[in-house]
Every structure is written in C-alpha cells, then in structure tokens.
C-alpha cells in the first residue's frame, strides 16, 4: 500500500513538472532576450477572438518591447520630445508620424551598433502609397535580415496582443474588462466617464496619456497593448495580410481618446503616414 502511494505521488509530481515544462517551452527560450523585450514564440493564432484564429497564418518568433516607447527613450535618441502630454517622461511618446517612427528606429539601431532595418529613400515618392493627404511619401524598404529595431507587422501585433501561444482568449489584451488593461476615454481623465463619447467632455475631464505600465500586462507580459496610445505598425492598410501598397499604414490598439471597443485585440484601423496625433505612439520589435 505504502509503495503504491509513493509511486502515485512520484507519478503526480512527474506530471506536474512535465506540464510546467510544456507550458514553459511554449513561450520561454534560453536565448538572449534583449532588455525590455520578451520573446514571442511563433505559431498559429490561438485566441478565438483574433481575426486570424483558425486561419492558415503562422507567425515566426520575434522580440517585442514590453512597454510603449516612452518620451524619455525617444528624447535620448532624437534629442527632443515632440509629445503634447508632458510632465512625466515615462509617458508614451506621441505626436509622431509613421516616418518619424521609422527614423527613430533606424537612429536607435545605429546608436546601439545594430544594423538598421529600414532603407529610407526621401527623394522618390513611394508608388505604392495611395493616400490622398500624405505629403511626405518617402519610399521605405526593409532589410529583412537586419538585427536593428523595427515596427511590428500587423499580424505580429495582433498575435502578441492576443497572447500568442499563451492566450486566454481575452477580448482586450490581457482581460475581458478594458478598465483592467487599457487607458481609454472613460478612465484616462480625472473622473470616470459613464456617459457617451463627446469631445468637449473629454477635454473638460482632462483625459490624457498615462505613464506606461500602470495597467495589468497581458499573457506575454506586454503592457498597454490595448490603450494609452495607438501604435504604428509596418503594413499598408488594404486587403489581406501585408498588402504591397495602400491608402495608409495600419494602426492598432486603442488610445486614451477613443471608445473602449477600439481597444479590442481584433479592432483594425489605419492612418495615412504623415499624421501626427497626441494618441499615436509606437512599440519596438526586433527579429529573433
């Protein structure tokens, strides 16, 4: 009897250890993860709320920043802070357009002796840019093998926001309750707004960005994927995944100004690349 009990305990212990190892191997790798990043293990979408759940779209491994790029990080690279909501440089940088983001990423790569991920041609307008308003229109191409900083692709952003292989099928990045994980128009000001969205109310309520990392992280340890500022992605907006051209660049995640439904992991939007707004920022990504 005693022997059977010991065998059972040993068996259960083995199961627990094995289970932990399986869970661990889904996400963690022994490779060197850059400081401030997590390794997102690739695979197919597992969050049932994702646009690409059940689709034949596989994501490769990549590193992504745990936080939005802050005003301090931006100023260290670019020499100045363009943000409107100042006073705490741990707030996310905003008032940057897509081209500013690309220049920042390359410059940061150079400062850290990494190979820039982007090649920027400022002389020739991008023929794949079908936007009506964009007055910059640089042609930006990628160096796919470079180890420098880059923007997430849309599919990478949604995969990471929805929890990757550790997804618990949340509607927002890390919760079904947007207030737990996201700064949006209701909770980003002095009082919690229960009323309908109205810009005068939002102004009067002093709604604003907040220092990064104050809400709960998602399953991968990523903060503010659903709120605070919206995030520029690499892709053109258009049909399918990563179209060759489009009217503007994909933006993902909600911000302090928008309604909470915009914070959902599956909400898609875009802007022409030249726009600078006080609810637009970015997050760092690197190839593995």
């Amino acid at each position: 009897m005693k022997t059977k009990l010991i065998a059972l305990l040993a068996f259960l212990t083995a199961i627990i250890i094995l289970s932990a190892c399986v869970q661990e191997s889904k996400q963690v790798d022994s490779g060197d993860v850059p400081e401030g990043f997590v390794l997102v293990k690739g695979g197919y979408f597992t969050n049932v709320n994702s646009n690409l759940y059940g689709k034949d779209e596989k994501v490769e491994d990549f590193y992504i920043g745990t936080h939005l790029v802050t005003q301090r990080e931006w100023a260290e690279v670019m020499g100045s802070n363009p943000s409107e909501f100042i006073g705490d440089d741990n707030r996310p940088v905003e008032m940057i357009n897509w081209y500013d983001a690309i220049e920042f990423l390359n410059r940061k790569s150079e400062l850290e002796n990494l190979e820039p991920f982007y090649a920027i041609d400022k002389e020739n307008a991008d023929p794949n840019n079908f936007g009506q308003e964009d007055d910059i229109r640089w042609t930006v191409t990628i160096n796919p093998g470079a180890n420098g900083y880059r923007l997430p692709t849309e599919i990478e952003w949604e995969y990471a926001a929805s929890g990757g292989q550790l997804s618990e099928n949340y509607l927002f990045s890390g919760s079904d309750d947007p207030d737990e994980v996201a700064w949006h128009f209701r909770n980003s000001g002095d009082a919690y707004l229960t009323e309908f969205w109205y810009y005068s109310i939002i102004l009067a309520n002093n709604c604003r960005t907040r220092p990064v990392g104050q809400k709960l992280p998602n399953e991968l340890g990523l903060y503010d994927m659903s709120g605070n500022v919206r995030e520029w992605c690499w892709d053109w907006h258009g049909e399918g995944v990563s179209p060759a051209g489009g009217e503007g660049r994909v933006i993902r995640g909600g911000g302090w100004l928008g309604q909470e439904d915009v914070c959902a992991v599956n909400y898609r939007n875009f802007l022409e690349g030249h726009y600078r707004f006080n609810d637009m920022g970015l997050r760092l990504v690197r190839n593995r």
Binding site: W197, I201, A204, V262, L271, F277, M280
Partner: protein, 236 residues
C-alpha cells in the same frame, strides 16, 4: 420588468385612444453633460470662475433640464446634456417635447437642440438640428434639402480631421439643419430613416454606405452662451 411593460402598455393605449399625450418612454437612455469647470457629473450645480451650470435628468422619464451661464467669454465654457440610445437604428423615430429652450446671452455664444450620433462605417458624425440660437453659417458642402416631419432641412457635409470616437484621425460629418425652427411646447418627431436615406444619396459617394450605428441621442448644447432648456424625449 412586468411593471415597466404595464406602464408602457398603458402609455401606448393612452396615446392610441387620445386620452393623453404621455409619450412612450425610451428604454436605453444614456446621458451626459459637461462644463469647463473641471467637474464632470450627471446632475447638480457647478459654479466656477468661467461659468455656472445646473442640471438634472431622469433616465426613467426621459426628461432633462439645464440652466447655464457663461461668466467669462473666450474661456471655453461649454455644456451639453442629452439622452438617447447606446446603439442607433436607421428606423428609429425619436420623439421630444422641448418645454423650454431659451438662449439668454443675445449675440454671445451659441445654443442648439439637435439629434446627434455616429456611424462607424464610414466613420461619420451626424446631426439633425431642430432649434438654435446663433448657430450661424455652417461650413461644408451643401447637398440640397430633405423634407420630413413637417419641415425642410438643408443637408450639409464636411470632411474633418481630429478627435472622434476611435481616436484622432479623419472622419466625415453630415448635418440636416431645419430651415425654420421647430416650436417649443409641442411633441416633435425626428424620423431618422428619412434623413439617412437622403444622406446616402448625396453626391459624395463616401456616404452611400453609411452603416454600423454607434450611439443616437437628442442633446442640448450651449457653447460660451447662457440659457436654459427643459426637454422630454422618447422613442422605441
């Protein structure tokens, strides 16, 4: 629930048999107000250096009232109150009775009563403006008129860039502005279907596929003005 159904049934019967003008209550009100006094609340009085506002609302009856006074011009004192539905509908008929609507600051500031809401695709802010003071010339493209609810409205659209329900960015705005102001103290209807049908026919093709309602309300807004208003609204 049963009690609400009985009340609604009685109110409907009263209207059918002409025994009373008691409206059928709306079922899904939201309401809001603002002043630039640094305070946000649904009801009560707020008094500060730039303005004073006193508001009350009853989501069960659909009644809201507001009295406001701008003290310092140019300081952005702005107030708004309204009730409505979290999700709009093309075929909703919004009823209201403005027991009072007074703009008391003469040529200073503006005040208006409007049905108001958003479509999500394409992202569009819409107005059906029924009564106003100093509303002024509306900028934008004029698309002619639409006749409904006993009056004629000018239809005007505009491309905007700025704050909207999704964040900052481009969006569309379209308005129906009534030619003659609607009287106070009587039951009025806003037949939204007629407006949206007309909007979908304007020359700008972007409006042809207006769809995916966000909220749908009736509001009073006073911008750097003084005045008072009392409105009861209903609908289905």
């Amino acid at each position: 629930m049963k009690f609400k159904r009985v009340i609604a049934l009685l109110a409907a019967m009263a209207m059918v048999f002409g025994l009373s003008s008691t409206p059928v209550f709306a079922r899904d009100y939201v309401q809001s107000w603002v002043s630039c006094c640094g305070n946000i609340t649904a009801n009560g009085t707020h008094d500060c250096s730039v303005g004073r506002v006193q508001m009350s609302s009853n989501l069960n009856t659909g009644n809201f009232s507001v009295t406001w006074q701008t003290k310092i011009q140019g300081r952005g004192f702005n107030n708004l109150q309204g009730v409505g539905w979290r999700t709009g509908r093309d075929n909703r008929v919004m009823g209201y009775n403005a027991g009072s609507f007074n703009h008391t600051s003469g040529s200073t500031g503006c005040t208006y009563l409007t049905a108001y809401g958003w479509f999500r695709s394409p992202l569009t802010e819409w107005y059906v403006v029924d009564r106003w003071a100093n509303y002024g010339n509306t900028t934008g493209t004029n698309h002619g008129t639409v006749s409904v609810d006993g009056g004629t409205y000018n239809v005007i659209s505009e491309r905007m860039t700025g704050a909207n329900i999704t964040g900052n960015g481009p969006f569309l705005k379209i308005k129906s502005v009534r030619n003659a102001q609607r009287p106070i103290g009587q039951n009025n209807t806003v037949t939204f279907q007629t407006h949206v049908n007309r909007w979908r026919q304007v020359s700008n093709p972007d409006f042809r596929n207006l769809s995916q309602h966000d909220y749908q309300t009736i509001i009073i807004e006073g911008f750097q003005s003084s005045g008072n208003a009392n409105v009861t609204m209903w609908g289905n």
